[in-house]
Each structure stands twice: as structure tokens, then as C-alpha cells.
């Protein structure tokens, strides 16, 4: 189908975009890369009265490092994340995750800010933001708000962003020397929606996790920072410890059933990912013997 009629405004600056959003509120929709918004409009799932195109706002672009903070502008496209030497050096988890997002032609248009504001529970970047303990920077008429990623995602396609605010950037702590990352997802076909996925960032000292942020996606209404992962921190990891964490993860998750997978299948796959992640990050193949524990 084709999108229904709408008015269109090309915002010239963040201030200009905020004025438009303040005037039109939830009748307006922000257009960034359009790779989620345009399908929804073409399918007539949404019919905004006004499209505020932020694609030309230069101040929303760019990737930069200041001290130990990596700042990524909202208009940074998936392909930019994939090619950026700063991302490869300071947030390698993102580079690995982006390769799983849809297909090349989509990655050439889709943006980080768009993906986060859209907040599809099956998408990769929101989970990465939670795993990396990112701060989401949003701007509104009253000024700037900084929201911890874990608090930003509030439900299926729901975030802490109001209709009058614009997501302008994210800030991440740069990866430390002994930090490690893991990213894997199950999908029927490369680039399809994940059935279950895991983005994890860890600090490993002498074969022990001293920090472990495992964020599961496509297994809940938002990215899930697993409390069960705490059971793996500051302990000598044995199959028994892992089994205990796996059981706790199963209890903690409340996955939805859809045409791709049942809730129990998603729970099972999440446990597989937990074991694979712990095993891979510690270089302990014995922990992943025989699948989930």
C-alpha cells in the first residue's frame, strides 16, 4: 500500500524540530532514516498528520570520543557504525551487532536514534545500549534530559521520550582494556527479526567475571538486563553455578509467543545463549558442553 497523505516539514536545526514538535505534539512523527516508520506508514498502521524530517540536521551527526566517553549522534546510520574506527576501538559490541540488522540497503538508511526511539523489542541496538550502560540524550523545549538506557525502554515500541522531545545522541563509557563482549541472535534467516538474542559486555579478571551485563532481546516487551547474570560474577564458574544462573534466567524472563516461536522455545534459546556467552567470554568450552544447562 501507499502511505496516506501528510504534511511535510524539513527541520533545519534541533531548535526548529523542537518548535515543530511542540506545535503539533503527537500528531507529528519524526522521520530519521525511515526504515521502520515508512513501512508502518505504507501499511497504514500509522497515519501522522505531519512528518518532521530531521535527516538534514548536521548537529545530529558524528561520532566522537571525549575522555572516556564515546558520543554517537542520533543520525548515525547503521553502516556508519559498521565502518567507524572509533566504534571498532571503543564499542566493538556495536560493530558486531550491526551486521545482524536487516540488510545492506536498510543499513545504508537506518539510524541509531531512529532504532532507539522506535524501540522494537526484537531489535539489536536497544539491547546493546542497555548492555553498554549507555546514556540516552534527549532534547525538549525545557532543555536536555539524560536517561539511563535501562530506564529509557518502557515497553513494546514505548520509551521515556515524549512526543515533544527529540533523541539527539547517546553516550557510552569507552571499552576498558579487560572488557569483553558477546553478541549472538537466533533468526530464521540472516537479517530477519530475532527470535531470541543476547548482547553482553563483561569485565574479566583472572578468568573471573568482575562485571557482566547480559541484555537479552526479543524475549520480552523491552531489552532485559538479566539479574541472573549476577550469579556468574565474582565466582569461580562451575557447571553447577551456570545451571543455577540458567534456572534463574528462565524464571526471570516472560517471553511472548508469536508466529515465530512459543514462549518456552524463547526461554530455551535464551538459556542456550547464556551458556554460550559465559563459555565464549571465559574461553571455557566445558561450560557449553551439551547445550543449555
Amino acid at each position: 500500500m501507499k502511505a496516506s497523505a501528510f504534511s511535510y516539514a524539513r527541520a533545519t536545526s534541533v531548535v526548529n524540530a523542537l518548535e515543530l514538535l511542540a506545535a503539533h505534539g503527537d500528531k507529528a512523527k519524526v522521520l530519521s532514516g525511515g526504515q521502520s516508520l515508512m513501512p508502518a506508514m505504507n501499511l497504514r498502521l500509522i497515519s501522522p498528520e505531519l512528518i518532521v524530517d530531521i535527516g538534514e540536521i548536521a548537529e545530529l551527526r558524528g561520532i566522537g570520543v571525549r575522555g572516556d566517553v564515546l558520543r554517537i549522534g542520533a543520525l548515525t546510520r547503521h553502516v556508519d557504525l559498521l565502518r567507524s574506527p572509533e566504534i571498532a576501538a571503543h564499542a566493538p559490541l556495536l560493530k558486531e551487532a550491526v551486521a545482524h540488522i536487516a540488510h545492506p540497503a536498510i543499513r545504508n538508511r537506518g539510524t541509531l536514534g531512529g532504532s532507539l526511539a522506535h524501540a522494537d523489542p526484537a531489535s539489536e541496538l536497544p539491547a546493546c545500549m542497555v548492555a553498554l550502560n549507555a546514556t540516552i540524550v534527549v532534547s525538549g523545549q525545557a532543555g536536555e534530559r539524560r536517561i539511563v538506557a535501562e530506564d529509557f525502554f518502557t515497553g513494546i515500541y514505548e520509551t521515556a521520550l515524549s512526543a515533544q522531545e527529540l533523541l539527539i545522541a547517546v553516550e557510552l563509557p569507552v571499552a576498558q582494556k579487560n572488557s569483553k563482549h558477546f553478541f549472538q541472535e537466533f533468526a530464521r534467516r540472516h537479517g530477519d527479526y530475532a527470535i531470541a538474542g543476547l548482547a553482553a559486555q563483561a569485565i574479566v579478571q583472572r578468568d573471573v567475571f568482575t562485571d557482566l551485563r547480559m541484555t537479552f532481546f526479543a524475549v520480552g516487551d523491552r531489552p532485559v538486563l538479566a539479574k541472573a547474570a549476577r550469579k556468574l560474577v565474582n565466582v569461580a564458574l562451575t557447571p553447577a553455578v551456570l545451571s543455577d544462573a540458567s534456572t534463574a534466567l528462565g524464571d526471570e524472563l516472560d517471553p511472548q509467543e508469536d508466529h515465530q516461536a512459543s514462549a518456552s522455545m524463547r526461554r530455551h534459546l535464551a538459556k542456550v545463549l547464556l551458556a554460550r556467552c559465559a563459555s565464549a567470554l571465559l574461553g571455557r568450552p566445558d561450560l557449553n558442553a551439551g547445550g543449555p544447562v
Binding site: 502511505a3 497523505a5 501528510f6 511535510y8 505504507n42 501499511l43 545492506p104 540497503a105 536498510i106 540472516h190
Partner: protein
Amino acid sequence: MEISLDVNGERVEAHVLPRLNLADFLREHLRLTGTHVGCEHGVCGACTVRVNGEIVRSCLMLAVQSHGASVETIEGLSDSGEIADLQAAFRDRNALQCGFCTPAMLMAAQDLLKQQADPDRERIREHLSGNYCRCTGYQAIIDAIETTARRRMGRKP
């Protein structure tokens, strides 16, 4: 709205409604019907064109967003001879039947070969993962692209 852009190297000025997507603009306003419209929600890949040198879904881009851009369609790539060898390989290998997906397959394949001269079959599959073909079963398409890559490297296919 008034838009001004380059299409296959020619300047185009037009007046369009905001809701018009780039695929429909190319097909209906410019009569460049080699860009096909399949699913209209970014899944099938049939509408793939180049914008500023990079492949995109033209059904997921508004015509007004292409203001100031350089757009290349299959007609441009075909007329310039840029993909003549790839087209010949598709013919030789029977890499098309109905032809609906073919212009976009060629677009995606050429995009890959520009980025990587010698991709293996897995890499080819991955780069074409966003383009559906309902006739061929893909094997012949991958054969044709692999053959073209080898020929361009000066090796025997």
C-alpha cells in the same frame, strides 16, 4: 513540494506530494520502470536503487527526501555499460526466470562487487539476503555473481 535531483546523471526538477515515495516517483513521473515495486514495506528488495552511490530501498524513501541527491536506477547502470558483464553472466547462467527481482539483484550484486572484489558464496548470499527471488532458488544468481567476480579479477570463471 519542489524537488531537484540528479537521476542517472540528468538534472530533474519536479513538483511532488510529500506522500509520494521515490520508487513511485521514478516509475510514474520519470517512466523509469526498471525499478520494481513489490511489497512496499522494505522486505522484498525489488525497488533497490542507488542514492549518492549507496543502495537503498526506494519504497522506504520519500521523493522529497531525495532532494539534492544523486539517484541511479537500473536504466542508468545498464546504459552506461557498468554492469554489462554481470547482465551477461545472469543470462548465461539462467539466473533469472520471470525477471521481476532481476534489476534489484543486479543493483545489490554490483554494490557488493564494488566493495569486495572476490567475495565467497557465503558473502554473496549475505549481501543479497534482502532481495527475494521466487523463481530461481538463488543458486544460479550466486553462480553468476561469483563468475563475474572471477572474470573481473582476471581469473577463469
